[in-house]
Symmetry: C2
Subunit: 231 residues, 2 copies
């Protein structure tokens, strides 16, 4: 690419979205990182997102406040629902699923892309390790891309074609980690735990911690995560 194309990159501060940002940088995009403060229990994610955006040289990092708590329905935003610690249950959709979260995140990314005149949106959706989340599947991503090109002024005027990039869609956690490592990504600045302690140390027991740790083990890479000391 001669002139850098702009890309809005959804950045949670977790392992997946940090890898997506490293991939988009490697592909030469000028990065506009977008994070959400949605009343998540694990607010250490946002600190991680800031570190990742700064480290990978995002042109701008926007943190939008949004009010998911009033909608409720997820262990990640509703304090009345416990974060499960018995390992991933592949039989159903976990209670940590946030209703329509990726739909809402992509909608905001689309709004910002339109204002920036950006044609590219990157999201760390993945259908291997999170098979239970409906909005992490290829058909969902495709349907959103279709919607995006009917929803915006510039697309309708034929001035641009929005593309939703989900490069991790069919990768396993260990493949994602190896990709990030090959791009020089330092995973110690990322945060995945759903239920960290007050210092931000990972619990090591929630689904997200378990999938992350297994990923490092399978990739043969030392796990840089700082865990709470187990009693």
């Amino acid at each position: 690419m001669q002139t850098k194309d702009k890309a809005v990159v959804l950045l949670s501060g977790g392992l997946d979205s940090a890898t997506v940002m490293a991939i988009s940088r490697d592909q030469g995009y000028e990065i506009y990182a977008l994070s959400f403060d949605y009343g998540q229990r694990h607010r250490f994610e946002l600190d991680a997102a800031r570190k990742v955006a700064a480290t990978l040289g995002a042109r701008q990092h926007l943190v939008l406040s949004m009010d998911m708590r009033s909608i409720g329905g997820s262990a990640l935003t509703d304090k009345r629902i416990e974060v499960p610690k018995s390992g991933p249950d592949h039989a159903g959709i976990p209670v940590t699923y946030v209703p329509a979260r990726n739909t809402i995140f992509l909608s905001y990314a689309l709004a910002w892309a339109e204002v920036l005149n950006a044609e590219h949106i990157f999201i760390g959706a993945n259908c291997v390790d999170y098979s239970g989340y409906p909005d992490c599947r290829p058909a969902f991503i495709k349907a959103f891309e279709n919607l995006a090109n009917l929803a915006t002024k510039s697309a309708v005027e034929g001035k641009c074609h929005i593309r939703i990039h989900a490069p991790l869609l069919t990768m396993t956690k260990s493949e994602i980690i190896l990709k990030g490592i090959s791009l020089g990504l330092d995973y110690s600045i990322t945060h995945s735990c759903y239920d960290p302690d007050h210092q931000g140390l990972a619990c090591g027991q929630c689904d997200s911690c378990i999938l992350r740790h297994e990923g490092f083990v399978r990739a043969g890479i030392p796990d840089p995560t700082r865990y709470q000391r187990q009693s």
Copy 2:
């Protein structure tokens, strides 16, 4: 209907969304009204939304705060862009268009519908008077319905089928007004002006005021809007 089906109704407090709520009530739905505080200049809309929700007997009215101002790009949320007062320009998309607004609104409605186990979402989108807004067209509504049924836990599990109702889609403003009048709707409690004064009186000159007033004239119904005194 024997048991009332639940419907999430997007309610701005304007003429169109109030009519949609009256239609959904007439069809027997139990109404969950959803409004947004998105830094719009015309915050009197939210007062109107509260009056409409109360008057039409919404079971619940949720007002979500959202941060459209940081994204910018519209005269309705960005104070640096003037609200135009030269009449609707059907040649292009007006600067009062808020990027991806209906996509974002419908995404939140979908999240709430999922938590409520509601299968119905009502929106006042209209492609006659607002032909310039891409996200008010039938193809957009259809694409969102398609997305919705790929995006949520209950739809993917086959437990429900989300329907997006846009009953005003092909109606003119005067037809909308006549429909609302036939359902007993009092339009004096609705607010349409993009640029009201500090008392909430309508300017009479912005696109929204002009379309609204023309609608009453063509419908042969006295316009109940309170306008600013013209100098």
